[in-house]
Point group: C2
Chain length 356, copies 2
């Protein structure tokens, strides 16, 4: 294992210390770890909070700032953060307008954010949780019941963060987050494994001429291993699954503030169709350089044009990574004027910045 | 070799086709390749142009846009662009206010930009060339006489692009570029090689527990190979060379528009000292994730504080890469209020964006 790290036990702590000195506009707490806007709580504004295992940077800590997240809770590498991290972060950022947890569907994250929501509620904080489950590749994987939560999270954090910044209330922000999730679909692939520092060796092995399609961001098994092929064929495989998805029905648990208890919600998304417009992300898993992403984007654009679909906005780069894994993921979020308006609003975070 | 590419011969062309569809605000010419602002020539403004081998993205094509480069000339991977690319690009962007070529010190780039300057001059274009030679690691390497041009280029393109946008004339922009170069020092290191698509195998071999300090962005040999060590020790080695540099004297060839011929200029930079403030870039060579760069930044910050120096601005991420090479580079540019003012000016490019 060759990485720019010191002691294996200090990896996340020292990276956060780097964030603290690089970004004085953020407050970084070490032990339990959480990162939040130094100007939080922002009076009258809903605080959008996310979190998950470290190793996916810039997500989530790199998306804390004006117009996006109020706070983020990084776990150890590929390990869910704990309820106390989430609860402490919620207390730090709550202005009284409430806290919205955006939770990637990964069993540890889901359970811990549920506990944190209960703790926050008991403490008098208005709290709501929204699940992201956008990965069309695999349903019911090694670590997750239902579809995994991946790239749509980045787009949700931007859009819902803008709505919170615009003064929308907690229910409106939660409704918007739910809408983004139902509009979003992703799929990823790996050319290489990555190495978790504490493990010291690759999470899985891929042969010299092998790749894995449908992989998860923690290296969870995908749909299939197959011989390496061209960027065009890889892009076609992923895009066809995303574009041909017939709609997905699931039951999610959401917090009911009135009842002070959990309720089941049945949610179904609609197939994409001709004439739709999208926010598209072509994302590096970490080790793939941005130049290769442009070859993928070229094919994405060609396929969408052939179906009469429009790319209204795009992100091309490393936004939700898996350490140094080589490979890419593609995320589409069908977007109406409301979503595009929030997308275009100013944002000022280490990982995304425009308008300021 | 596992990469997201199609035919090896089409790698750069197809990546540029991706840039063309992703960024309609840029005009992309294929054969000879060059990328320029779709709104060029911009009336009354100097056009800043750079170029070099592909494989270092987002540099240079990703830095074309308002407030930075007017145009960029990508060669094949790790191969200098040709004089006709540079000449055609200069003609496309010249408003009559002149064209400034920013040239990384790499023998092929230097010679070809010189020929392009002569062609442009013969065509009645006011033209000037400024060399970047900021790599403190190696003097007189495999492909370059004198110090190599590396990370300072990114910072120069931002600062001089802002000056051009502000309406400064060609001489003022050239003076500013020369000043940035004399203020800038860089050093890089590699944990792994990268693979040039046309070669199909790694440029060099590094053992399982080996790294190379002082490497060039085309994989040129560095100062030394040594056993892998910690992020702190690696950062110390590079920072000590940068901070202890006693000043560097060189003779550069610059175009003299009055004489219509080349003149030699003798330039010497000054050592850094206590109280200085800097723009600092901690850069990924491509395969190293941004999380690890924060561990490096933490040590950079600590070392600069210990010497009574201030980091006024920073960039942390992949800005001047070597395909998928793992490793990092550090660039310091000593900055006064003039440089910081141009740094903070709005910029709108695929690779850097703020203020718009």
């Amino acid at each position: 294992m060759k990485k720019l790290i010191n002691a294996v036990d200090d990896v996340v702590k020292e990276q956060l210390e780097g964030v603290a000195v690089a970004h004085p506009e953020l407050t970084v707490k070490i032990g339990p770890h959480y990162v939040y806007r130094a100007d939080a709580p922002v009076a009258g504004k809903v605080a959008v909070v996310s979190g998950g295992g470290s190793g996916h940077e810039p997500m989530h800590g790199g998306f804390v700032g004006m117009g996006m997240l109020a706070g983020a809770c990084p776990g150890e590498v590929f390990t869910s953060p704990t309820p106390d991290q989430m609860y402490e972060c919620a207390k730090a950022v709550d202005s009284g307008a409430g806290v919205l947890f955006l939770v990637k569907n990964y069993t540890g994250d889901v359970l811990n954010f549920e506990t944190a929501a209960e703790l926050a509620h008991a403490d008098g904080i208005k709290v709501q949780n929204i699940l992201v489950d956008d990965d069309v590749a695999v349903k019911d994987s090694l670590y997750t019941a239902g579809r995994r939560g991946v790239g749509t999270t980045v787009i949700m954090e931007k859009i819902v963060g803008a709505a919170a910044e615009a003064g929308k209330d907690l229910d409106a922000c939660a409704d918007l987050a739910r809408k983004v999730n139902l509009m979003g679909r992703s799929m990823g692939m790996a050319l290489t494994s990555c190495t978790v520092p504490a493990a010291g060796k690759p999470t899985f092995d891929l042969g010299e001429n092998e790749m894995e399609i449908g992989i998860g961001i923690h290296g969870e098994p995908g749909q299939k291993r197959m011989a390496m092929t061209t960027a065009d064929e890889i892009t076609e495989m992923m895009m066809n699954e995303i574009l041909d998805d017939k709609g997905y029905s699931r039951t999610v648990r959401e917090w009911d503030r009135e009842a002070g208890d959990w309720v089941d919600k049945h949610l179904t998304d609609e197939p994409y169709s001709e004439g739709d417009q999208f926010i598209v992300m072509v994302n590096s898993m970490g080790g793939t350089p941005v130049s290769e992403l442009y070859a993928v984007y070229r094919k994405v654009d060609e396929m969408m044009k052939a179906r009469g679909m429009t790319i209204a906005r795009k992100l091309i780069g490393p936004y939700i990574t898996s350490l140094e894994m080589a490979g890419c993921s593609i995320t589409l979020v069908k977007a109406d004027d409301e979503l595009l308006g929030y997308w275009d609003a100013p944002v000022n975070t280490p990982g995304l910045r425009w308008g300021v």
